[in-house]
Symmetry: D2
């Protein structure tokens, strides 16, 4: 059994982590924390998240002393915190025996100039950044296993990379044409906060962050090729559907695509290769990535769609996958029941 | 042609009024205003409300001087403002030739003690309150016609009173059993503001204001009998469905109910007596009230459902109906096209 | 370990049962069946229900021979079938060692005349009907434990009875005023079938089955008092919110209500007594019933709201609760993880 | 005043046409028709479409005699019918003085081989096809004005062509990279019929018709260049959002794109050039097309989004625009109020 703590448990990702830790056979929840100036401090988690009304967990305020204690008293710390908080707290949290899974964007980009351009503040934790391993569970398993710090991937990159890496790694793409990633995310992706943009009346499908979203460099960094990524806000609570259009090299056949996907995910129970284009609801509330693809052999263009639950595989359940890898359990432990 | 101005045009009701005034053959929009400390001041209305992107109207900041000018320069002023603002501004707005339609709750309750209990501040505008006429268009037409001040009814009271007044006025109810009004409102009812309660992820059908909502005394005042009113927040943008259970006096038959409804609304084009229980979407984006009812003759219990668009008949289009009455046009002018 | 089979696994309740059996530590899924003339026969369950794409289960056609075999080869049979099928197949299914949990309405009403009036066909299985025990898990535990046949309660009755029985059993209600139950159900309640009424464009909140729904006699039978029950179709997929208005006897206080609820559900982990009025999403995808109530001591009227997931506590998870009781496991086994 | 009849008034497009004709100052509704074997024959339109409960119009069965009479007795006939019906009836409907606006796909593709490949039946009405003019109102005004037959464009092509034609006509596109059109449509696009795919529980964002949808050749035919078009079903009732990614020729600047759009739509009141990426709800229930675009000058890739109401600009209101053009009224008559 492993002891874990969750910092940032007032948000949607934090609440999902609480639920996943509760149902995991090998994890024990030792504490849930929020920012020391949060109005949610000292509330029970069920007060904020009605679905957890039966869970006995209080949101305690975090402070330097608590951070230090956690670093030496639990096995794993989940950081479901703003980028700035993760960035600032990482050295102290990694000063003891605990390993840290950071669900913010603070440690995903190795290039600190790109980081500063897209996140708006300079990266000052070079040592931590160097140690951090990108936690895309199906692709970086051997790096994740011994790591001290896991940078849990962003939701859009998870959906996009799972779809594109088999094609890239097998050199099937025509590099003259950039992959076009159109993705629609549920509103939980915007986090738990009062905001006119995500108020119920205002939400209606639209594009945002066009040609400038911070997940673009993350996708490009782990794919190794530039992409055009257009995120959208959808009128649903959970899930991402990414529709990806690529051009493959001349002469590639549908069966070749089928083969590379099957090979890439043969022993990966979290990735489901579907027989038809998946729906958001196929994966909502699940840890799965669902993939389907089709090639127009005449033109060489292919369309792949990738569906995930942004709060699960796009955040919390991928973090649990990483813990499973780090503790040498089957990757789906506590996730596929 | 009549000149009108709208104060509070940044909200959902104000925006709806802009649209209705634009499409009305006898009304001319002279100005749209917002609170002087609003971040929306000087923006175009289309910037806030994308559906009005083609409308050339700027949100001007209101102040005492503007209020005074309006009182003497337009025929009708619509107040889509907070209760406090309507309360405070009414004397100056009614100091000239303009007539005022107030869509807040400030002038609906004649009993100032009840007002203070439910609205949380004392009513200091006794003269205005005395002049104010309740603008339930199908029921107070002769009072509305000559009025200086119209207190446009609340959304829930509009749905409830339209359903219940025919039964009450005809003394069909068994007074020993209170009418039970269960109503579900779309999120627009909460107004245009950033609020965790109405954020997309959080909205999910639930009761609120149980046994204490401020529309209860409004319904009771204009019905003349106590009720149990339970509002709910629903996961849709517009509309109210009120489901009302009453006990009628012994021996009443279904045909008697049919007759009183037909008689009450024979020449009222805005009230549609339906052949089946109406849906929210039957009335969304329309000025109509849809009614249907059924009596269990054995037990004497009857169920009536009443559907309106809360932003239209529950606010803006009812205000337009009042203007039509005041200017002696057919009540549906500019509303039923 | 207990072997179970599910008949009617093509529907939403059947698919939910598959998932619950898969995640239950003591149950083994031995077979999933559909009607022999179903177009879904021989399909995999993941083809119909994308969320189960990873589950290896084929929908086999049922026939008399299979029914007979099941009766002697598994421990529990779940019937997620039409009323007529459950009615017809019950004798053969109970001819062996298997126990049967019927999720249809065929065995809930002991009065066969009322049954025929509301279900439209005569009840011919008197012996089975006599043996059947009503599976409202929190209230009939000692009857359920030794039973051969469980009539799993309807979704609306589950929500309604959980809210009302504590008040009725403690004689707190003023019998001169009928409890008024207004309930809104998600669309899954209508089952998995092509139907214009439940097509996406047509769904919009409205009342149906007014003063004549077949769940009314079920509620009345197990409550022991007549009620006015008005169901509604809501624009969401899962969940029921029942808002119940009652009149209590003179002099009853809020604290007395608090006490009877606490006493009734003290050791019942599936019923969560909430501190505020619950939302549908608090219980969606969970086995819980969430209750909250408020009394207006002056008038004696109280409002209770009860939220469940109609596919879970309103069907599948309640059936699992019954199996847990019958096998003497904690009632929440495999449900609260 | 012009007399019009609507064939196929039981569907969503037909019902929208009824409403638009009712509110149009120069059109008089002379009759609403449905297929002679429709279960909806002889019903009132309000019985099918609750929002039209106040409209006095009966759905009459169509037959050859009626078709012939219509051809000589009204000015305009709207065909909101299946492709096959439009195809078969066109010669008789155009045998008199009436002009016909066909909202099906029967007369949009001039290449009959492509038609047969995508629609599944051979085109036998060569004369009618030759006469038919593509009714994209902002682009083919001078052809539309004198036409006898208008092939009203498909919903996806309307959204796509409005966005792409300014770039194509001005030769700004890099032809080596196909435009990628990702579009999400509301469920009304699937028509009014009972269908498991569009039942409320099943609808959840997903791609369909990938690399083979029949609107692809329609877009390509009127754009003059091949595209990759991927439609999606979204969980909303009305509207299409098309997100279009293109590569422009080297050296093109953002201001050049701004200029071509402004030039193309300078005097076109139905196309709104927005300052930000539009939402579906900005255009739902309106006749507008909303466009916004952004170019990454470094890479040459641009993203344009185009939003329409599929039932309005994607069908019914575009047909009204065509009638306005044919009768030499301002194109927005009866549409922008």
């Amino acid at each position: 059994m492993y002891n874990v703590s969750i910092i940032g448990a007032s948000g949607y990702t934090g609440a999902q982590l609480v639920q996943l830790v509760q149902q995991h056979p090998e994890l024990v929840l030792k504490g849930t924390y929020v920012s020391s100036n949060s109005a949610d401090a000292h509330k029970s988690i069920g007060e904020l998240h009605g679905n957890l009304a039966h869970v006995d967990a209080t949101l305690l305020p975090i402070n330097d002393e608590v951070l230090e204690t956690l670093a030496n008293s639990v096995d794993f710390i989940f950081l479901a915190t703003p980028h700035e908080a993760s960035h600032d707290w990482m050295p102290i949290l990694t000063s003891g025996s605990a390993k840290v899974l950071d669900l913010s964007g603070a440690f995903r980009l190795k290039d600190t100039q790109v980081f500063e351009d897209f996140y708006g503040f300079p990266h000052l934790q070079k040592d931590s950044l160097e140690q951090a391993v990108y936690g895309l569970a199906e692709w970086y398993c051997s790096d994740i296993q011994p790591a001290k710090i896991i940078a849990v991937p962003g939701c859009y990159p998870t959906a996009s990379l799972t779809a594109l890496k088999p094609l890239c790694e097998n050199q099937l793409l025509d590099k003259a044409v950039r992959p076009v990633i159109n993705a629609v995310s549920g509103v939980s992706g915007a986090g738990r906060k009062a905001n006119l943009t995500t108020s119920f009346f205002e939400v209606s499908l639209h594009a945002y962050g066009v040609l400038g979203h911070r997940h673009t460099p993350e996708i490009e960094a782990y794919l190794g090729t530039p992409v055009i990524f257009t995120p959208h806000l959808g009128n649903f609570k959970r899930g991402i559907l990414a529709t990806i259009t690529v051009k493959v090299k001349p002469g590639i056949k549908q069966v070749q695509l089928d083969e590379v996907y099957k090979a890439a995910y043969a022993d990966k129970p979290i990735v489901r290769l579907r027989n038809s284009f998946p729906k958001i609801d196929d994966v909502a509330h699940t840890p799965f990535v669902d993939l389907h693809w089709k090639l127009d052999e005449a033109s060489g263009y292919a369309v792949i769609t990738s569906a995930i639950d942004n709060v699960m595989k796009g955040a919390a359940s991928q973090a649990i996958q990483c813990v499973n890898i780090m503790t040498k359990q089957p990757v789906e432990t506590g996730l596929v029941l």
